[in-house]
Amino acid sequence: MEIYLIIMLVLMILGSIYSLHAKDLLSAVVSYGIVGFALVISFLMLYAPDLAIVQVVVEIITLIIMIAVITNATHEEQKREYNFSNIFYLGTILLFVVVFFIVLARMMGDLGYFGQDLMRMANVYIDSAHEAGSANIVTGILFHFRAYDTLGEATVLFTAVIGVLTILRHYGKKKEVK
């Protein structure tokens, strides 16, 4: 079980690295799809069908929207030049990686086995989910205990739409389009 999960994670990392270095933007978007669909299979392995359904549909629609964006933009990536500042960036990245692994090695000792919850809240949610009157525990939590969170997510989506409409338009409201 865990070995398949590790294979999926390695696939996701490879796909994201390739999408960073692809020459054509379209192939970058398609290889980024590997990340999404491997995440779907990982969610199914971890017994989270709710998240898997959302991820499948959102991944497909995101792919369509990204391709619609790319047809408006240039396909090819601009060339980079290597100079002193790039070496500085590389050094910073290496320093960050070393610090990250030192902190990670210290933290890993305190973690439990795979799938164990660290917070007390998780058990309280699962035990009292039937009070919400929902057979699906995830929905019961989302609309009962954590309805604030749901309102926040809806607001984020609303703000995203307003942002897209504001950035993409070429003419303001006052100037009429002939």
Binding site: P49, D50, I53, V54, V57, V58, I60, I61, I64, I65, A68, V69, N72, H130, A132, G133, S134, A135, N136, V138, T139, G140, L142, F143, H144, A147, Y148, T150, L151, E153, A154, T155, L157, F158, A160, V161, V164, L165, L168, R169, H170, Y171, V177, K178
Partner: protein, 157 residues
């Protein structure tokens, strides 16, 4: 004005007749499945977000196959924004109603009586919230897609 008509006519053609007819059969089925997932959100895997995205994919499917008829899409954009804003406003009103009506007086309190666990009409406020969130997500994602099509055409004017 003439140029505008030509560009509009060129973009209204869409895909071939076979694709259009198949899409006319499949898109309502996808939409119905989205409604099913939204309404049964408190019983089976799924919910407002999932059902909303599935319903939006039905609309996007139809727009892709029929080609973007820009005059119609411009009219729809206004309605989509209105639907989305009204849905999120209704969700906020539902939350404040919990504050006013319920005896516990908590924001988002479940003031409608909870029925038998497992029935379609049960869970009090949860199915209503699911439906509202479904409408909001559907309108939001469709309006992003429609905005990309409309504003691309505005650039060429």
């Amino acid at each position: 004005m003439m140029e505008n008509n030509v560009t509009t006519q060129q973009k209204t053609q869409g895909m071939t007749l076979v694709v259009k007819k198949i899409c006319q059969f499949i898109a309502p089925t996808i939409f119905l499945f989205g409604i099913y997932v939204t309404i049964h959100g408190h019983l089976s895997p799924g919910g407002g977000f999932t059902g909303g995205v599935i319903m939006a994919s039905a609309f996007i499917f139809q727009i892709l196959s029929d080609g973007s008829i820009l005059d119609k899409l411009r009219a729809e954009k206004w309605r989509l924004e209105l639907t989305e804003s009204l849905a999120i406003f209704t969700f906020l009103i539902l939350a404040v109603l919990g504050l006013i009506i319920a005896t516990t007086s908590v924001f988002f309190a479940n003031f409608i009586p909870v029925g038998k666990l497992g029935d379609l009409i049960s869970g009090g406020m949860i199915p209503i919230g699911n439906v509202i969130i479904g409408i909001e997500v559907c309108a939001a994602i469709t309006s992003i897609f429609v905005a990309l099509l409309i504003f691309k055409d505005e650039e060429s004017l």
